[in-house]
Amino acid sequence: MDAPSLPETYRAILTIRRFEERLLSLHQEGLIQGSMHLCNGQEAIPVGACRELRADDALTATYRGHGWAIARGLPLPDLFAELMGRASPLCGGRGGSAYLCGAPYGFLGENSIVGAGVPIAAGAALAARRDGAGAVSLVSIGDGALNQGAVGEALNFAAALALPLVVVVENNIYSEMTPIKEMVAIDPLAQRAAGFGIPSVTVDGNDTAVVQAAVAEAVARARSGGGPTLVEAMTERLVGHYTGDAQQYRPAGEVEAAKTREPLTRLRAAAGQELGAELAVVDEEVEATIESAVQEAMGYPRPDPAGAALGVYVD
C-alpha cells in the first residue's frame, strides 16, 4: 500500500471527529436518546489500524466504537440513523450507540460489557485460522478492560492456540473516571501481554502512521501463523467518558494540554502553509459529507413498533 497522504489522513480523522461532535448536537436537539461514549482525540487509532484490515478480516470494538465503525467503512448515514433510533440497515435501531454492528462489513460489533469482545474476537480468529485464507481478527479494548477476567482468559486462549488475533488497547489513561495507573501495578500496560506469552508494543496512538505500522507488524504475524499480538496505543480523550460526564476528576489543564497533542492539531501543524489550504477544503468537504449523512439518516423511517419483539430467534 502507498502511504496515505496527510490530507487523506486528516479527512479520515476529521470525519470521525465531526461525526462525534454532530452526535452531541443531535443529542442536545433531542434527536438522540441515552448516553454515548465518544472517541474525540482517539481517532488516529481506528484510522491507522483499519488501514491494515482486509475485507475478510473480523473487527470487534467497544461501546466507544463509532470511530472503528467509520474507519471500517460503515456508511455514515446508516450510523447516524442507528444512533437516532431509526430503522438503519445496520441493526434497525436495535443496537444504538453502544452496541451496534455491521455484518456485511465484517464488523462483529461494539460491545457494552467491558472486555467481553475479546473472547468473541478470539473465536473469529479461530474461524479465520480454520478457513485458512490468512484472515485475522482485530479487537479494540480500553486500558481498564485489560483487567477483566474475560480478557485475560481470551489472551491466554489465543496464545495457547496461536490464533491470528490482534488486540489493540486504546490507553486513554482513564477507565471511566479512574486513572488506569492507580488500578494496575505495571507500566506500560503492554507488559501484561508477556505474562501470556504474547508479543506487544506500546506506541503513540495519536499518530496514524505509527499505529498503522504497529498493527501492520501484528497483522503480518497473525496472517503468517505467528499468533496474537497486543498493541497498546497511547492517547487521550478530549471529552467526557460519556455524554454528560462533567470530568471533575480530571486535573486542571489536562484536557487543554491534550488538545495540543491530539491528531488533528498535529496534522494541521505538520501541514503547515503548504497543505493548509488543502485542509481547509477538506474541512468543508467533511462538513458537507456529515450534513448530507445526517439528512439521509433523517430519511430513514422509525422502526415499526409492531416488529419490536420479532427476531429473538431465527426459527
Binding site: 436518546q33 444504538g96 457494552s112 460489557i113 478492560a145 477476567g149 488500578m183 476528576y249
Partner: protein
C-alpha cells in the same frame, strides 16, 4: 426531635447516599467497594462525599467484578461488612460465580462457621436509549438463589430503609435499585428504626383486584389503579419490596378481599418473578381466586436501543390497567 423534623424531600439516589453514610458511621467495619466510587463520587452519585468523609474505607476498584465481589466476600469472612456497588445489573453476569457459587453457600456449608454480612447494590431496568446489555431486569435469577436476600426499593424512603436493613443483616443481600427512579424525589425520614427485611407495603387498598408490583412498576401500577378507579374498578396496589423473602401475608390479606391477582414487573414474563407469585397463589390460595391470575411483563425479548421499540415492549400503567380489565372479565370459555 420530632419525626417531622428529620423528614427531607430528597432524590432516590440521595437517599441511597444517606443510607451508605449511615452505614459507614454505624459500622466501623463497613467498607464500600466499586468502580469509581471513591474519588469520582460514584458513577450515579451514590457515594458522593463518602470518600471525603470516610477516607480509605471507600475503595475504587479495577473494572473486575469477580475480583471485587470475591474480595468483599473474603473481607466479610474476616470480620468486615462490605458494601459493593455493581454499576448495572447486567454486569452481575461477569461475577456470577462469586454471587451464586460462593456467596450464598458460605454460611450454610460452613455450618455457621462463617458469616458473610455483605450487601451488593446494583440498579437495573431500561431507560431511553439504553442498549440490550444495560437494560435487563434479573431479580428472578437471584430470587432463585437461596442464601441471598433480594430487595427492590421503589421510592426514596425505601431506597434508604431497605439498604440499611440489608447492611445491618448478617446475611448476604442484594439491593436492586431503579436507575429510572434515581432522580425522582420523595420524603425521606432519616432517623427511623431499622425495618425488618421482607415486608411488603400496601400502597393502596382495593376491593376488586390486587395488583402486586415492585421497583419502577409500582408507580405504573398506582397510575393504573387511578385510571381504573375512574372506571369504577377498585384496585389494591402492593409494593412487594423484597422478592426474597416474600411477604405472602400481605398479598394473601388483600387477595382474600379481592379474589383477583395481577402481577406486574419490567422483567421478561417467562420465568420472571411474577411466575413465582402466580404459582404461590394457585398453590396456596386457590380457593380465594375468583378467576385467572394475570402477569404483566416484557414479552420475552432482548431490549432494543431505540426508544420507540422499547416503549412498545415495556409494561405501563395502560397495559396493567388493560390486563386488570381483561382479568375481571375473564370467564370460562
Amino acid at each position: 426531635m420530632s419525626t417531622n423534623a428529620v423528614t427531607e424531600e430528597i432524590t432516590y439516589i440521595r437517599a441511597v447516599n444517606e443510607g451508605l453514610r449511615w452505614a459507614l458511621r454505624e459500622y466501623p467495619k463497613a467498607l464500600i467497594l466499586g468502580e469509581d466510587v471513591a474519588l469520582p463520587n460514584g458513577p450515579f452519585g451514590a457515594t458522593r462525599g463518602l470518600h471525603g468523609e470516610f477516607g480509605d474505607r471507600v475503595i475504587d476498584t479495577p473494572i473486575t467484578e469477580s475480583a471485587f465481589v470475591g474480595a468483599a466476600i473474603g473481607a466479610a469472612m474476616r470480620g468486615y461488612r462490605p458494601i459493593v456497588e455493581i454499576m448495572f445489573m447486567d454486569f452481575t453476569q461477569v461475577a456470577m460465580d462469586q454471587l451464586v457459587n460462593q456467596l450464598p453457600n458460605i454460611h450454610y456449608v460452613s455450618n455457621g462457621g462463617f458469616r458473610v454480612p455483605l450487601t451488593i447494590r446494583t440498579q437495573q431496568g431500561r431507560t431511553p436509549g439504553s442498549c440490550a446489555q444495560h437494560s435487563q431486569s434479573l431479580e428472578a435469577v437471584f430470587a432463585h438463589v437461596p442464601g441471598i436476600r433480594v430487595g427492590l426499593p421503589a421510592n426514596p424512603q425505601d431506597a434508604y430503609d431497605m439498604l440499611r436493613s440489608a447492611i445491618a443483616s448478617d446475611d448476604p443481600a442484594l439491593i436492586i435499585e431503579s436507575r429510572a427512579l434515581y432522580a425522582s424525589r420523595g420524603p425521606v425520614e432519616l432517623e427511623r428504626p431499622l425495618a425488618p427485611i421482607g415486608r411488603a407495603q400496601l400502597r393502596r387498598p382495593g376491593e376488586d383486584v390486587t395488583i402486586v408490583s415492585w421497583s419502577r412498576m409500582v408507580g405504573e401500577a398506582e397510575a393504573a389503579a387511578q385510571r381504573l378507579e375512574a372506571e369504577g374498578i377498585s384496585a389494591a396496589v402492593i409494593d412487594l419490596r423484597w422478592v426474597s423473602p416474600v411477604d405472602h401475608d400481605t398479598i394473601a390479606a388483600s387477595l382474600e378481599r379481592t379474589g383477583r391477582l395481577v402481577i406486574a414487573h419490567e422483567a421478561n414474563r417467562t420465568a420472571g418473578f411474577g411466575a413465582e407469585l402466580a404459582a404461590w397463589a394457585t398453590e396456596e390460595r386457590f380457593w380465594d381466586l375468583d378467576g385467572p391470575v394475570a402477569r404483566v411483563g416484557a414479552p420475552d425479548i432482548r431490549m432494543p436501543a431505540a426508544a420507540t421499540l422499547q416503549e412498545a415492549l415495556l409494561p405501563s400503567a395502560e397495559s396493567i390497567a388493560e390486563t386488570v380489565r381483561a382479568t375481571l372479565n375473564a370467564a370460562p370459555a
